[in-house]
Symmetry: C2
Subunit: 336 residues, 2 copies
């Protein structure tokens, strides 16, 4: 058993933002952050779903500017590190500087699992600016454990405080997680974190598998709010970890109350596994593909299933959303 | 890897009945059964949620008599075994005879995990009547692997065709499941099955763990419909098992359609993990306690959480619902 302190990272106000169409208000950010902080959560991530400066036509506009949300949340947090997500190419160092001015104390710099090198300057800047800095590898199912170790070392050399692996598509099984976390633990001296999606109904089990292999930072959200089928449900994960005897420092009963009393009322739909998100996990494609896939399916008289499975077969990655229409067109021609 | 044929058992029309207040109609039973049968599901369980003859003031009245549902479903099933659940003490051999006359081809005789002996006569009768007969141990987390082996042998001696273990409270972790299934595989020559609840978000992972240890019959329901936080979501489980290369014989895409097009529209609430059902799994108490607990909590000014955790601490079992009020009364006196 992993007897280290397990640090719980809540990303309701960041990844969860996808599931409410980026509609969080400052009042909501305050209520959620305050509840999480009092429950003992150590890092509270708040940003547009696609990271700071994600508010756009392409990724969806935020209802209220995220800097206002960050500032409001920072006013009520007493112990947790207020954290932002930064995707180089979407957000910039200037955006990060503004987030820090508004109260952010930590940043997670996220890249596709094979593109850590585009984050070197952001991680270096963040460390020098005094931020707690995390290197975050997305779509980790698309790379071997060896490739992941290579990429993690780039983050480590740039100065990251820990390395976070993300199963962004909710594709992995516990064995997939074990192989990747174990490889990182063997090769990198930094703490390791894990971020899961529930598309295959495995997010809690995958998080437990990560911890068993030595991961010490675990992402989760209230009610599992998040892209696709959602993230690991924080109140469930923490209750299980409490019963298993892990030292998380959080009060799982308090988290249950935050989830039920504060987050559930602001949800736009229940966080369940419907066919579309199940297929995202089954095919291993990014959840941002879903909306584009639905549109393309309608346009070309296909099912989203046909398109998603083909995207997975081709190993399409985030940023290639424009190609979904091409794939749909090709599939529709084959069918005639 | 378990290379045996994995038999998928759907219990949407039985355990799922709890989640729709036992309101299934014959038309719904026909639509669900036909869809499951065409998708390749091998056993389709249909009964009141608490087994045949469960319709009552205590367990909730069925909207339409279950024998009518059984008869209607039997008219459309071509390959699957139409299955009923029988809890000795609730249903009788006479009820089972009627179910067989209406088309049931299999029965699962269920007892508390330490009370297999009360099912001997039912199992013997069912075998002699030509039914495919299953011995089903509920609340399996409350007994050690050794005790479970002892109880399974009682079923085996009575003539059961396979032994099914049920994590009725959704309490188990994958390791709990592995220990119990492995012990059964070592000690009993019959096939082993597993039935999971999702109160701790672990039902898919627990089902995979069961199969890895040699279980060959796995229960699940469309959309996870079921008591408490629901059962293993069949379309999710089958998609994962398909990707992992297991031989289930089911078409997981067809199951996704049954779940989304037929079952989802008849659901009364989304099958998510809310605080009450999370606490059932955390405390390890039976889901039928929930309604009684809510009522007792209101009556004595307590939270359901306080009562459920105390019930788990006392090891209360199904049938002791009447004692919930006493426990609540004691707790309320302590608080004064």
């Amino acid at each position: 058993m992993n007897t280290n302190k397990i640090h719980i990272v809540d990303t309701t106000l960041r990844d969860g933002s996808h599931a409410v169409s980026h509609s969080f208000t400052a009042d909501q950010a305050v209520a959620v952050s305050e509840g999480l902080d009092k429950a003992g959560v150590e890092m509270i991530e708040i940003s547009h779903g696609d990271g700071i400066a994600g508010s756009s036509l392409n990724y969806g506009f935020s209802k209220q500017p995220e800097m206002e949300l960050i500032k409001a949340a920072s006013g009520v947090i007493k112990n947790a590190k207020l954290t932002v997500l930064l995707l180089p190419g979407i957000g910039t160092i200037e955006d990060l500087r503004m987030a820090q001015e508004n109260g952010a104390a930590a940043v997670r710099v996220a890249t596709h699992v094979t593109e850590a090198d585009i984050a070197i300057q952001h991680i270096s800047w963040a460390k020098q600016a005094g931020l707690f800095t995390v290197g975050f590898l997305m779509m980790a199912h698309m790379a071997t454990p060896e490739k992941i170790v290579e990429q993690a070392k780039i983050f480590a050399d740039a100065g990251a405080d820990y390395i976070n692996l993300a199963d962004s598509a909710g594709y992995m099984t516990p064995e997939d997680v074990r192989a990747r976390i174990a490889a990182l633990k063997n090769a990198v001296s930094l703490p390791i974190g894990f971020h899961s999606h529930n598309n295959l109904g495995l997010s809690v089990a995958n998080s437990l598998a990560a911890v068993e292999e030595g991961a010490t930072y675990i992402d989760a959200t209230c009610r599992g709010l998040g892209a696709g089928a959602g993230n690991t449900q924080i109140e469930v994960l923490c209750a299980v970890m409490e019963r298993l005897g892990y030292n998380t420092g959080v009060n799982s009963f308090a988290l249950m109350d935050v989830a039920e009393d504060i987050v559930e009322p602001l949800m736009q739909r229940p966080q369940v596994i419907r066919t579309d998100s199940l297929l995202l996990g089954y095919a291993g494609v990014y959840s941002s593909f879903l909306l584009h896939t639905r549109r393309a399916a309608e346009k070309y008289g296909l099912t989203p299933r046909e398109i998603l499975v083909e995207l997975g077969r081709r190993g399409m990655v985030g940023g290639q959303e424009d190609m979904i229409v091409d794939v749909a067109y090709e599939l529709s021609r084959k069918g005639t």
